[in-house]
Symmetry: C2
Subunit: 425 residues, 2 copies
C-alpha cells in the first residue's frame, strides 16, 4: 500500500516500463488470424471466438437520423470485470492492475483486478491463467458488494455486456502489476487524464454510496415510470445486415470509414506484448473520429445533489432506451450541438465539479477519448422535456444495480462522483 | 362500492349475462382475416397487426431437453395493463372490469381497468375507444404507484411484454362492466377459481407491500448476485425458423399439435361478441394440453416469511433466466416430476397457505389453467441447489419493480400473497 500518491506514481512509471508493448497499424485485410467473409464481409477470427465486426441497419424515431446502417462489434459472450476490496482498520482498499491494451492512450492504464473475456478465462488464447480469477467464480468465499451484467457502448457494440463485480476479501498476495489503492487515492487518480480505464470505472460505479438512501417508494416509482414511459414512447428496430451492405461506408484495404469522415473507422493493428497471455497478436479496433463529450448537469435541492439524466437510444442498446448522462455526443459528428451542450461548454470554471479526459476500453477501441464533465447548472431547471429527469445520486446508484438500466457513459460519471471527496456530492 | 361481497357476486352474475359472447372452434385454415404464409407457414393477420404464430428453435443447457423447436406467439408491441386506485377514508379501492375473452374459462373474468394491446388503443380494430385509457397515457394527472414493462409466459410467447401500471386518482365515473373493489374484497376474490384474470394479477403484483423494507444493501447485493450468477452459468440460443419447419409438431387443417400430444396445440376460434370494440372476429389461440402447477415453498425465519425462488429458462424468456416460483410445470409434459413437486403435492392441508386455480390470458390462450399453490415447507431447507434461493416477500416485490427480472408466474403468486390477509404474510 502506498503512503502517498507520489509512491504510486513512481510504481506506475516503473510498471509502464515493464511493459514491452508495441502497436502497429496494419491493413485490415492482412490481420493474422482474422479474415473478412467473402460473401458478407463480416470480419471474424478463424477460431470463431473473441468478437466479429458485422453490419447493422437501424430504424428509430428517437435519434437525429431516422435510418442508418453501420459497422458494429458483436461479442455475444459476457466477460468478467472484477475488483477485489479489502478493509484495513475499516478503510477500503481496491486491488488495481497496470494493464496494457493496444487501443489505450498511453498503452498502460489502471485496470480492474480481473478483466477477462470468456475467451480469456476459458483459455482460447492458450495463454497464462488469469490471476485472481477464482475470487470471481462460484463458489466464492468473499463478500459480494456488487455483481451485475451491465451494458457497454451502444454506438459501437451490439447488445454487449460484461459482468461487473466487486468482492470483499480478507487479504490476497499482491502480484507484479497489481497494487492496493485507497478510496482517497482512487479519487485523486480519477482526476488524471487517461489513467483509470473504462473497465475500472464501470465496476467502481457499483461501489455502495456511504450512508445514503434512495428515498421513498414513491420517489422510485416516479423515476421508474419515467423510464418505462420513454421505452413506450419510442421505437427502435434493428436488423443485422452483411457488413459489406452498410451504406455510406467506404472500404479500403486499410480500413472501413464513413464517407463523410465522421463517427469512426475500423482499423487493424499488430501487437507485440511482453507480459500478456500471448506475446503477439493482430486484431481489428474501432477508432472514433472525434473526442466525445460526456457530461452531467447537477443542481442542489434542499442541500442534496441532483443529476439530470437522459433517456437515450443508440444502435446497440439492449432495450429501446437506457438512462444516459445529460450530454453524450461527439460534437464533430453533429451539424447542430445537442441539448445542453452549451450549458456545459460555457460553464464558468467555478461551476465545474469534475473535468477529466478518460478513454474507453483499449481492447476494442483505438484512442477513444471522452471528456467527462460534471457541471453545477446553477439554476432549478425543472422541465427539460420528457427525455430528461432529475434524480439524486443515491437514486441513480440504486437503479444502476439492476442491469441494462444505466448506460456505461452514465455509470462512468457515477463512478467519478462516488469517488469524489464527499464535499463534492 | 359493495358493502358485502355477496353484492359483488350479484352484480357479477348480472354482468356475465350482459355479455352475449359465443366462441366456436373452427379449422385454423378457415380463420377470417388470418392466413398461413405459403412459404413459411407463419400465421398472420392480413393487417400485419395483433400477433403472429411463428417457429422457434431453442438450444440451451438449462432445460430438460437440450434442443427443441416449437410454435411460439410473436407480439412485439407492448400493450397497457392498467388499474386505477382511489382512496376513501384512507382505504384503497381498485377499479376492476368484467371482461370477456374467447379463451377464458367462464368467458368473463375480472380484469384490469384497462387491458389494451397497442392495436386496441391505436384503433386498428376500428372499434370503440378504450374507456379510462387517458389516465394511463402521458401527460397523466394521477399518482403513479407502479409502472413497469413486464414479461409474460416464456413457454408460449417470444419476448412478450406489457406495460403494467397502477395509477391513483381522485375519483372517476363508474361505467357499466366496471366496479370498485377494496383490498379485502379482492383478497376474497383471489381465492375463487378462474375469476381474477392474469392481467389483473400481474398488475396487482406491483401494488406496494405495506410497511415493509427490502432489507439491507448487502441482502439485496447477494440476491442480485445469485441472479447474475445464474445468467452467467447458462446458455440460451434462439433462432426463428419457419413455422412449418418445427420438428415433432403435426399440422392438420384443425390445429398444430405436438406428436406426443404434449405441451399445447394451436387452434382457431370464431367469436361473436356483444359489447366489444368489434362485434365479431376470428383468431388463433394456444391451447395447453394439461393444467399447470405453479407453486411456492415458504418458510419462516425469525417470524418473517421467506419464499423459495428459482432461476428459470424458457423458450421465450427475454434474458437467459428470469426469477420464477419454486415449481412451474405441467406434470403431463414430464416423464419425471421436477424438483419440489412432491413437497407441494404431498403437503398436508394445514400447511397449504393458498390454493386456487387461475387461468392465463384468454385473449391468447384457450382454457390455460394453472393451479397456484403456496405451501409452508415446514423445514429450514437451506441448500436447494444453485438454481434456487430464499428471499423475503419485500425483497421479491422490490426486484419485481424492475422489468424482466421476475416472471409472470412468480408475479401471479406475489399478487396472491400481497392480497392475502396480512396474517398470511
Amino acid at each position: 500500500m502506498f503512503q502517498h500518491i507520489a509512491e504510486f506514481h513512481d510504481w506506475w512509471s516503473f510498471r509502464k516500463q515493464a511493459h514491452p508493448f508495441h502497436v502497429t497499424q496494419v491493413p485490415l485485410d492482412r490481420l493474422n488470424g482474422w479474415s473478412a467473409d467473402r460473401e458478407t464481409g463480416t470480419i471474424r477470427h478463424h477460431s470463431g471466438r473473441f468478437f466479429s465486426v458485422e453490419g447493422l441497419e437501424v430504424s428509430t424515431d428517437h435519434a437525429i437520423a431516422e435510418e442508418w446502417s453501420q459497422p458494429i462489434i458483436d461479442q455475444p459472450e459476457a466477460g468478467i470485470l472484477g475488483i477485489l476490496v479489502k478493509r484495513v482498520r475499516g478503510v477500503p482498499y481496491f486491488l488495481m492492475q497496470a494493464k496494457a491494451e493496444p487501443g489505450n492512450v498511453g498503452v498502460v492504464q489502471l485496470s480492474p483486478t480481473v478483466q477477462a473475456t470468456k475467451s480469456n478465462y476459458s483459455r482460447v488464447h492458450q495463454g497464462k491463467a488469469v490471476p485472481y480469477l477464482k475470487h470471481f467464480l462460484a463458489p466464492r468465499r468473499g463478500r459480494i458488494l456488487s455483481d451485475v451484467l451491465q451494458s457497454e457502448q451502444g454506438a459501437w457494440f451490439l447488445h454487449k455486456r460484461n459482468r461487473n463485480m466487486i468482492i470483499e476479501v480478507d487479504d490476497v498476495e499482491v502480484l507484479d502489476d497489481f497494487c492496493w489503492l485507497s478510496r482517497e487515492q482512487l479519487s485523486e487518480l480519477f482526476a488524471v487524464d487517461n489513467l483509470v480505464n473504462m473497465d475500472s470505472r464501470t465496476v467502481l460505479a457499483g461501489y455502495p454510496l456511504p450512508g445514503t438512501s434512495a428515498g421513498t417508494h414513491n420517489d422510485t416509482a416516479s423515476l421508474l415510470s419515467w423510464f418505462t414511459e420513454a421505452k413506450s414512447r419510442y421505437r427502435l428496430d434493428r436488423r443485422r445486415i452483411p457488413l459489406n451492405a452498410v451504406k455510406k461506408w467506404v472500404w479500403s484495404p486499410e480500413s472501413i470509414r464513413h464517407e463523410d469522415d465522421r463517427f469512426f473507422s475500423v482499423i487493424g493493428v499488430d501487437v507485440v506484448a511482453g507480459n500478456r497471455e500471448v506475446t503477439g497478436w493482430s486484431q481489428p479496433l474501432l477508432a472514433p473520429r472525434h473526442r466525445g463529450l460526456v457530461a452531467l448537469l447537477t443542481r442542489r435541492v434542499d442541500g442534496q445533489l441532483q443529476v439530470l439524466m437522459r433517456a437515450l437510444t443508440q444502435a446497440g442498446t439492449h432495450d429501446i432506451v437506457e438512462i444516459g448522462p445529460t450530454v453524450q455526443c461527439a460534437l464533430g459528428n453533429h451539424s447542430e450541438p445537442p441539448a445542453f451542450v452549451e450549458h456545459v461548454l460555457a460553464a464558468p470554471r467555478e461551476r465545474i465539479l469534475f473535468d477529466t479526459v478518460h478513454s474507453e476500453e483499449g481492447g476494442r477501441f483505438y484512442h477513444a477519448e471522452n471528456r467527462y464533465v460534471v457541471v453545477d447548472s446553477g439554476e432549478l431547471l425543472d422541465d427539460a422535456g420528457p427525455d430528461f429527469t432529475w434524480m439524486t445520486l443515491p437514486q441513480l446508484a440504486e437503479i444502476a444495480r439492476y442491469g441494462n438500466h444505466v448506460n456505461v457513459e452514465a455509470r462512468n460519471l457515477l463512478a467519478c462522483l462516488i469517488f469524489q471527496p464527499s464535499e463534492g456530492r
